[in-house]
């Protein structure tokens, strides 16, 4: 839930932002946007699965964004649309992250129930 609130705050800030991004930087922003989106989904997934590590998350966010921007820049210098690499990688990862989040959310109740059963079962064993 707090993630959605953060997203909303960002959207409002972006709309109220007084300057428009110049068109020549549009590609960089798009690549950065993809990287950030990927990181956000990845972080969300990690938190749900309970394997979240702050340093991993932050280094991934900053590093991915930097590499995406660098690839875009290099691609423009070389005349090859290298930013497509970032688009493909982040796009694929987004689907994977979403799939994992989905599975985690859908199966978490079953797991909890099962854990509950195990906990309930144990004293019974003990009494026997």
């Amino acid at each position: 839930m707090p993630e959605l609130i953060g997203l909303l705050v960002g959207l409002v800030a972006g709309v109220l932002f007084p300057w428009a991004i110049p068109s020549q930087y549009s590609l960089y922003v798009a690549a950065g946007l993809l990287a950030a989106l990927d990181s956000a989904l990845g972080g969300f997934r990690a938190r749900i699965k309970g394997e979240f590590k702050l340093d991993v998350f932050l280094s991934g966010t900053v590093g991915n964004t930097a590499i995406a921007a660098f690839l875009t820049w290099l691609g423009q210098k070389l005349g090859i649309p290298l930013y497509l690499a970032a688009v493909v990688v982040f796009g694929t990862r987004m689907f994977q992250n979403f799939a994992e989040i989905r599975r985690e959310l859908l199966t978490s109740r079953q797991k909890r129930d099962k854990i509950g059963q195990d906990i309930v079962l144990e004293p019974e064993d003990g009494t026997k």
Partner: protein, 246 residues
């Protein structure tokens, strides 16, 4: 442990906020850019209007020129009627023909050149198109055979006329013409015809590239007058040698 988890949550929230911010900014910038494209389109429209206006203006100027030339003709006639010698009138006539001031008619040949329709085997499209040099060689041949007046697609060829390749078209007297090209020449029809169609002549060579060249002799050809003005800004009549010497 609890604090660390909050920190992590905060980080994710911050990244989410960044995502939202970038998303909104990017959307706005894309929208703005498409608006800029629309501006370009309206600019194109403005330029088109300006171009049309310029064309109208040119038409008006051409009319003005025609009127002025008409007046000039009237003055000439008056001058001829008003006791000018016959020799002077004759000379005036000769000079007007040379200067392209009058429409001309007489026997001669008409040459029609069309781009090659044969299959492209050399791979170079340019080999099969008519170039300014082809037109120039035809006209040169006609001149050499004694043509007295020449027109290309209705444009009178004067001593100052250019025939120049400008992309896919050829500029003559500052106007652009595309294939097929019709060259008319007034002169001795037989001589002109033979000069063009002789073996290894211009027509022969052009035909090797598959360029269609049709030469027809005619009894009465009409060659229009020159549609522009001739102005001499730098050239002037040379002075007599002894006068220059002093």
């Amino acid at each position: 442990m609890k604090k660390l988890k909050n920190k992590g949550e905060l980080a994710v929230v911050v990244v989410c906020a960044v995502v939202g911010f970038l998303l909104a900014a990017q959307l706005r910038s894309v929208k703005l850019n498409s608006a800029a494209d629309a501006t370009n389109a309206s600019r194109l429209e403005t330029l088109q209007n300006l171009y049309n206006e310029a064309l109208d203006k040119q038409d008006g100027l051409e009319q003005q020129l025609a009127q002025a030339q008409h007046e000039l003709g009237v003055y000439r006639e008056e001058a001829a009627a008003g006791g000018g010698s016959a020799a002077l009138v004759h000379e005036l006539e000769q000079l007007s023909i040379t200067a392209g001031l009058t429409d001309l008619e007489g026997p001669g040949v008409a040459v029609v050149l069309e781009d090659s329709s044969s299959a492209n085997v050399t791979g170079d499209e340019a080999d099969y198109l008519i170039h300014d040099s082809d037109l120039l060689s035809v006209i040169n041949e006609l001149r050499s055979a004694g043509a007295e007046a020449i027109s290309l697609n209705g444009e009178r060829i004067l001593a100052t006329s250019e025939i120049r390749c400008t992309g896919a078209v050829v500029t003559v007297n500052g106007r652009r013409y595309a294939a097929p090209y019709v060259i008319m020449a007034i002169g001795d029809a037989n001589t002109l015809y033979n000069a063009l169609t002789m073996r290894n002549g211009v027509v022969d060579i052009l035909s090797q590239w598959g360029i269609t060249v049709k030469v027809t002799a005619g009894e009465l050809l009409l060659i229009p007058k020159y549609n522009g003005t001739v102005e001499y800004q730098y050239a002037r009549t040379a002075q007599e040698p002894e006068e220059r010497g002093e």
